[in-house]
């Protein structure tokens, strides 16, 4: 049987590749438990004792509760705003079949071609002059950068939502906003999940934009990690413990929602 032995070999190749892919996480984790001296002695083996001292020290130095809170705050508010305003725009653009409407959609699609680095210098300057280099300014910027793809996805999903629903609501005396919020928006839930996932991954991990905007007290996790790492060069035991702490929330979220995440990313990329 050709296929059976092939499958067996492929199974082994898969396991080996899986282990290779996980090895950086393994190396990070085991060395985060070691003392400075133990790391110097060797990085491949297990630690002599599973001591949490490094984690405690890194947790305190990272001021982790504070940076976690900053990250959650920025990400949650930005994503809620993106979902609300992009779905409204996607709805309006799909219900208006005029040339103006098509041109507005085109504008948003074309804006996706503009790389962040080509607008960041004037952006920081303009927002600085308006005294908006703070969390509120950052959230507004995420709306500006995040709305294009989100509107595009909502606009695509709207093709499956019949106009007769709008008409029925209108006859019942609902205004445009009530129609959208009570009738249309709930039907867009699957695409809202996709939009939320794509924007959460991006905003949670973003480093460059917050590094230009936020002060150290309001630093998000990636930003705080950068300061922290600069402090602990040559002290890998603490640096690795800090890195482990920083990625735990992401890994936990990933294992709970991996199916939705992979589907969402697939949908966002292929369209």
């Amino acid at each position: 049987m050709e296929s059976k032995s092939t499958k067996y070999i492929l199974g082994i190749v898969g396991i080996l590749l899986g282990l290779l892919w996980l090895s950086p996480f393994y190396l990070m984790l085991v060395n985060a438990f070691k003392s400075k001296k133990e790391i110097f002695m060797g990085v491949l083996g297990l630690p002599e004792a599973w001591s949490f001292d490094n984690f405690v020290e890194a947790f305190i130095d990272l001021n982790f509760v504070n940076s976690l809170w900053n990250s959650v705050l920025i990400t949650v508010i930005s994503v809620l705003i993106i979902i609300l305003f992009s779905s409204m725009a996607g709805y309006a653009l799909s219900r208006n079949k005029s040339k103006v409407s098509a041109a507005v959609l085109m504008l948003f699609v074309a804006a996706m071609l503009i790389p962040f680095q080509s607008v960041m210098i004037p952006l920081v300057s303009l927002f600085g002059q308006a005294d908006m280099l703070n969390q509120a300014g950052l959230i507004f910027m995420y709306l500006g950068f995040g709305s294009s793809l989100s509107i595009f996805l909502y606009h695509g999903a709207m093709t499956g939502v019949s106009v007769s629903l709008d008409e029925a609501a209108l006859i019942d005396g609902a205004n445009k906003f009530q129609t959208f919020w009570h009738i249309i928006f709930p039907l867009l839930k699957p695409i809202s999940v996709t939009v939320a996932i794509l924007n959460i991954i991006w905003i949670w991990n973003d480093y460059l934009l917050p590094s230009l905007i936020l002060s150290e007290e309001s630093a998000t996790i990636p930003l705080k990690m950068f300061y922290f790492f600069g402090q602990y060069t040559k002290q890998w035991h603490l640096a690795l413990a800090g890195l482990t702490i920083a990625i735990i929330p992401v890994i936990v979220a990933y294992f709970f929602a991996q199916k939705q995440i992979i589907e969402g990313v697939s949908e966002g990329a292929v369209k």
Binding site: L27, F85, N96, V119, F140, G144, S147, N205, L208, M225
Partner: protein
């Protein structure tokens, strides 16, 4: 909704304000100021194309572009080969398929900055320990030379992004009708023949999507560059995005940095427009 309806414009106001103030206005404002002696706050003099002439003679900028092109070329090819390979592997209905898909995609969930720090440890400490144990001289001193810095960035990117490209290929692979493969099997086609004549042509659109996605991503990389090599040694592994950030925010040459940013915009837009052109062409061909 019609154009003259107030509600149409009300629904669009928040996103139009966002896009306008965050992307469109800065792009126009910045492009204008790249022709002046702007210092980030005010401009006194119009300098014409001076910044643009200067950047084409700027060794640091030119070498960052060249380094980025080399990096993009190598990663695009390897990412697509590995991404397709992983996609073919996890669609073989192995017992471990779902678990493997989860593992391969995992690095994508974590930010480039943090991944770069983890790999800095691996390249510096782990590689040197393995090299010592096995007597391989080539594993010593990683990231301390331009060459190892380059390959370090490539390896990090492959590890991070392959799972993402895999997801794209899986989406197309799953659209291949199973009967097609079955029919070819009955006709006696070998697995290589089936791959060459059925799978590959049907997955070709995924190749275009992934190719341009990886290409434009490779050009825009910043976080990984910052945390893995910080451009070192001697700025020899500095990519375009980092060069622009440093010109503007370390050297404080705002107008000159913006001129570089405008050139960068044209490069990335050209890549994207080529993709749009190819997609349109393919739709016509079908």
């Amino acid at each position: 909704m019609r154009n003259r309806d107030v509600s149409f414009w009300l629904f669009l106001t928040p996103v139009l304000l966002g896009l306008g103030l965050v992307v469109i206005v800065p792009l126009i404002y910045g492009t204008y100021y790249s022709f002046t002696d702007w210092n980030g706050l005010s401009a006194n003099e119009f300098v014409g194309f001076d910044h643009y002439v200067r950047l084409f003679q700027d060794q640091a900028f030119l070498s960052s572009i060249w380094f980025t092109i080399k990096f993009a070329f190598v990663t695009v090819i390897l990412l697509n080969i590995i991404g397709l390979g992983l996609a073919l592997l996890v669609t073989q209905k192995l017992k471990t398929s779902n678990l493997l898909r989860t593992i391969f995609f995992m690095p994508n969930m974590i930010g480039g900055l943090i991944l770069g720090f983890i790999w800095q440890f691996i390249f510096i400490s782990v590689f040197s320990d393995i090299g010592e144990a096995l007597g391989i001289e080539a594993l010593q001193g990683w990231l301390s030379t331009t060459n190892t810095g380059f390959w370090g960035l490539v390896i990090l990117t492959l590890w991070q992004m392959s799972g993402y490209i895999m997801i794209i290929y899986i989406a197309y692979l799953q659209n291949i009708p199973g009967e097609l493969i079955e029919a070819a099997k009955i006709d006696g086609a070998s697995s290589w023949q089936r791959f060459k004549s059925i799978t590959f042509p049907l997955v070709a659109p995924a190749f275009t999507v992934s190719l341009f996605l990886t290409l434009s991503n490779s050009f825009k990389i910043y976080d990984q560059n910052l945390s893995l090599t910080n451009g070192g040694p001697y700025e020899s592994t500095q990519m375009v995005a980092m060069e622009i950030v440093k010109t503007a925010f370390s050297a404080n040459e705002m107008a000159y940095g913006q001129a570089k940013a405008v050139v960068f915009f044209f490069i990335v837009a050209a890549i994207a427009l080529t993709q749009v052109y190819y997609n349109k062409k393919r739709e016509v061909d079908l």
